[in-house]
């Protein structure tokens, strides 16, 4: 990807004004401003505004633009009907939101037909108040398409399972275990879904936003007068801190 270089080389959808989404970087037919169900896109103009005066005038603030017209996205939508929910592009990186029930099919298509043979990374993001609560994020790489990369996102509700892609890319095995461990998202069909970084018997999922950042008393009972055994600062405890 030529525009994959760094912040400076990124495509420049100039300024977050509503009209700004029009001069899209590459050859894309009629980009629409993105009213994606995602928090980032929705809040974009609001947050960019305060950053503007501090930033130098000539450095445009990157903003997402619609990418439904990209050939890759169009091909995916055609090959796996119902898979693509939305697509947007920001700083030269395409993000495709995929329906959870079509995820494995879409991944297989991308791997076999579009040569995305390398799963770079798999992680999750906790949006706490949003429904579905989590985004599981996949970052794919194709060696044959000139090192092109594409990001997939799947919305997963709290308590629901996400289909595993460890059958598509073996490397997803540990990555999914890590997401399971730290976010508490189960992966349906995973061959070995155990905790990986914390220990078996650990209570809670540390990267959830409602997990206290100073940690929990895991039964060591250092302060038996303050915390029940095996518990930590409870939701009403003033010692409990959360990351927002």
């Amino acid at each position: 990807m030529a525009d994959e270089k760094n912040g400076a080389g990124a495509p420049k959808p100039p300024a977050p004004a509503p009209s700004a989404a029009t001069p899209a970087p590459a050859s894309k037919p009629a980009p629409v401003p993105t009213p994606v169900a995602n928090a980032p896109a929705a809040a974009a103009p609001k947050a960019a505004a305060p950053a503007k005066p501090a930033a130098p005038a000539k450095a445009p603030v990157p903003a997402p633009v619609d990418a439904m017209g990209e050939p890759l996205v169009a091909a995916l939508a055609a090959a796996v009907p119902g898979a693509v929910v939305s697509a947007k592009k920001m700083v030269g990186q395409t993000t495709v939101e995929v329906a959870a029930d079509k995820l494995v099919e879409a991944c297989r298509h991308l791997r076999d037909a579009e040569t995305f043979t390398f799963l770079v990374d798999l992680t999750a993001v906790d949006w706490k108040a949003r429904d579905p609560r989590f985004d599981v994020v996949y970052w794919l790489h194709s060696f044959d398409r000139g090192n092109e990369r594409v990001r997939l996102k799947v919305g997963v509700k709290d308590g629901e399972a996400c289909p595993t892609v460890s059958g598509v890319w073996e490397t997803a095995n540990w990555m999914e275990r890590e997401v399971f461990d730290l976010f508490g998202i189960a992966f349906e069909g995973h061959p070995d879904l155990r905790r990986i970084l914390t220990w078996d018997g650990f209570q809670g999922h540390p990267l959830r936003k409602d997990f206290p950042v100073e940690g929990i008393d895991t039964g060591a009972a250092i302060y038996p007068d303050r915390y029940p055994e095996g518990g930590g600062p409870g939701p009403g405890d003033k010692n409990r801190k959360t990351v927002s």
Partner: protein
């Protein structure tokens, strides 16, 4: 992490094992000098042959990604030092790249060159440390003394530049904090010119060494296809003959202006990974010399771009990666528009490369496992985060 099993315990009576005895389950680590940290491997062995190896990690988990979410953008940088703690500069670099990408910042040329110098020095020092420890694991103590002699010079140069030897905290969003100290480039050039003959010395010790070759050739083979399936990047991927390096594939900073090769191996074994890393030392030396020339010819200039006083990237997400000494090190940043990352994920090459260990170790002797752990070049700070 999994349940604690006894140190040595009989598992099952399969009858047709090598010695006609039972398979044994054996704990390798977490307190074992050759696991390079607190890595525990649960081995199932038939005599001395490995039937299965199951890595058990998490002993050094510090919740770094959780901590990222509580710190402002500049405050995250020192935390990144402590991921791959023998290559702090590349960690800093990958992190500042992703923030700059989301901010759309332009980095001054001089800062780019100094960053590349720091990266490549870090690569040399990391590979030297790898060579020292991997050789000592296999009983060759001498390379340790040779490589630490040179590593010491690099650490002194780091100390001279930023005051720290390991946890450098040397990069800032938008550029660098400090200009080079007077005479620093000359010292670096003297060291770099000398480095070529030093690398020859290491090769004299090992490359044609019969014991070294017998311990490494044909051990821990992982071909290109399997590397890609397991997401393995860095020297193990290149040793399999696949010419792929983030510095060339997804170029960043001033790498496109620099002239260097991507060394590859062909047999995908431990010996080829050794050769690839030695060749990378020579390529890093080449890059360092070119950077010295450029920095001497351009002795002044901005080292920090126009950075907002409070760093608040726009709402959105971005991923940026560098070629760290271990492989592709990436950061995935999700910003909600505040002054702290909403989510900052590290793509740790050590963690992902380690996943291929069971496949590489299967069928080998327990003593080969030591060579295989060494050849993946893991740092537990990055595996466990």
């Amino acid at each position: 992490m999994s349940e604690i099993v006894g140190t040595v315990g009989a598992v099952e009576d399969s009858g047709d094992t090598m010695l006609g005895l039972r398979e044994m389950e054996l704990n390798f680590g977490p307190q074992h000098p050759s696991t390079h940290g607190v890595l525990r491997i649960v081995l199932k062995v038939d005599g001395e042959r490995i039937v299965s190896a199951r890595p058990d990690i998490g002993y050094l988990h510090r919740g770094t990604e959780k901590l990222f979410e509580t710190e402002t953008y500049p405050m995250v940088i020192p935390h990144t030092d402590r991921l791959d703690y023998v290559a702090a500069a590349t960690n800093n670099h990958a992190y500042v790249l992703v923030v700059e990408k989301l901010l759309g910042l332009e980095i001054p040329k001089r800062a780019q060159y100094i960053r590349v110098v720091l990266d490549e020095m870090q690569r040399v020092s990391s590979h030297l440390l790898w060579l020292a420890t991997a050789a000592i694991d296999l009983g060759a103590i001498t390379p340790f003394f040779y490589t630490f002699r040179e590593r010491e010079v690099i650490l002194d140069l780091f100390e001279d530049y930023c005051g720290a030897r390991l946890t450098l905290n040397c990069m800032r969003v938008g550029g660098l904090q400090e200009e080079l100290t007077p005479g620093w480039i000359e010292k670096l050039r003297a060291f770099t010119e000398d480095l070529g003959s030093k690398i020859d010395e290491y090769e004299d010790l090992l490359t044609e060494n019969r014991i070294w070759k017998e311990r490494t050739i044909g051990v821990g083979i992982l071909n290109t296809e399997r590397c890609i399936a397991w997401g393995v990047t860095g020297p193990p991927l290149r040793a399999a003959g696949f010419k792929w390096d983030v510095r060339r594939a997804i170029p960043y900073e001033c790498y496109p202006e620099l002239d260097f090769e991507i060394p590859v191996g062909k047999n995908a074994d431990t010996y080829d990974r050794y050769l690839v890393r030695i060749a990378e030392l020579r390529q890093s030396r080449r890059i360092l010399l070119q950077c010295c020339d450029w920095l001497t010819a351009n002795p002044t200039g901005e080292i920090r771009g126009k950075v907002p006083r409070v760093i608040k990237p726009p709402v959105g997400d971005a991923y940026a990666s560098v070629e760290s000494p271990k492989g592709e090190l990436g950061f995935y940043l999700v910003s909600s528009g505040g002054n702290k990352p909403y989510r900052l994920r590290v793509r740790p090459p050590s963690f992902i490369n380690l996943q291929a260990l069971p496949e590489m170790a299967r069928g080998h002797m327990v003593s080969d496992l030591v060579a295989i752990i060494g050849t993946i070049d893991i740092v537990l700070g990055e595996v466990d985060r």
